[in-house]
Symmetry: C2
Subunit: 246 residues, 2 copies
């Protein structure tokens, strides 16, 4: 029986770690999105619904906060549920637990349902038969809301050529790749000296193969960096990212 | 009971595909290496052996040839066995099958066992108690041997800054990443018009975070490209790659 909050057990397999032996942010992010789609499918608003209605979920914002990422061969779990539906948006949350069942982190995300015909977001409050209202569980993770992300005077920057291997099955740059590029704007020495414990992303325009992008980064206070990923051809910002570290 | 040839069942999960809906070369390559290590561990010369003896396997060459990569949600399997041990090298082979058990491809690879004290390869024929001789199965895949890879007049090139997220748990650039960079030297239009069916890599020097590399590519005849990944600081070639397409 589907429940409003569903938990998915996972294990950190070899080749899923980063240099430090922890599950990479890239794999963590993609597994989080994968679990979102499994939950959506179980509740009747996943890929089957989207294909038959010619609509698709688009990730608008994501924040993941973790005390520590699990290590090689460690078991962990990701739970997810929908806490709110408001006009064109829905809020989906995540809870991360270690092998002992202790909470190690949380996530929040915001999604829109785009109609492929009109290219416009659908009003989620007016769907037939109440739409997805039955799935809503009004529980909210105990982490800070999304930050306002803005880069004024970048101090670090990196260039990237978007290639075929950056794309996902939709033909756009995979959402989590943007986060990798921001992490790569910092040296390995910086990563060894600091631990990133929260990553946020605000998704704007889609990136495509052939795009040349600049990743510009600015320190914000003592423990955070704001970043923007800008397309060189027209200076448009594709995605904004914020890293919190200690 | 461990057998000389071991078969591992797999399935293409969401987020493992490339833009075309096929298992990405990146995931295919990493799963192939993962299965190599599971087989090695089962036969007593995997990670446990390496950690207690302070030795490590280093991949020297790899070639994978596939008629078609499996698609989203399709089942497939990778089988592996060791066919030869000669001085400092061992040859490991792979066989890829689709959901019906039909062979869809093969792989060959060459490995050396490096002693961490001396930094030299160990002579695999002189190991105590015959070493890994019991695991050898003298069956060789029906694909062409390794190509000679050499770039003389590059026609395509790409630059890449090696970042933290390119590294694996050993702190070097992940072996399969080099292949991704060569694939990314071609436009999406090129990929849509052609199918790469064989990829080879000859691994030389390790790449590290902070390395700036050039990926230079030259057409070799009608259906192949040779590529070299060169470190900008000293012009050294880290890895050579060959792509065959139709």
């Amino acid at each position: 029986m589907k429940s409003k909050k569903m938990t998915f057990p996972l294990v950190v397999e070899p080749f899923q770690e980063d240099y430090s032996g922890h599950l990479s942010w890239s794999n963590l992010g993609n597994f989080t999105l994968r679990i979102a789609s499994l939950h959506a499918e179980a509740h009747g608003f996943g890929i089957s619904y989207m294909m038959s209605h010619r609509r698709g979920w688009v990730l608008s914002r994501l924040a993941i906060e973790l005390q520590e990422r699990p290590r090689s061969l460690q078991h962990y779990s990701i739970a997810t549920w929908v806490s709110r539906i408001f006009r064109q948006f829905t809020e989906r949350n995540f809870e991360f637990r270690d092998a002992d069942g202790c909470i190690i982190g949380h996530g929040i995300s915001t999604w829109a349902l785009i109609d492929y015909e009109t290219r416009q977001p659908v009003n989620l409050e007016n769907l037939p038969n109440g739409g997805f209202q039955d799935a809503v569980l009004s529980e909210v993770p105990p982490i800070a809301p999304y930050s306002r992300i803005r880069v004024k005077e970048p101090s670090v920057s990196l260039h990237h050529h978007c290639g075929m291997t950056d794309l996902d099955i939709n033909g756009h740059v995979n959402s989590i790749r943007y986060i990798d590029w921001v992490l790569d704007a910092f040296t390995l020495e910086w990563h060894k000296a600091h631990a990133v414990h929260r990553i946020e992303a605000a998704f704007g325009l889609e990136g495509y193969a052939g795009d040349e992008v600049d990743i510009i980064v600015e320190a914000v206070g003592e423990n955070a960096y704001a970043a923007e990923i800008k397309r060189q051809s027209d200076g448009a910002t594709l995605v904004k990212v914020m890293l919190y570290y200690h």
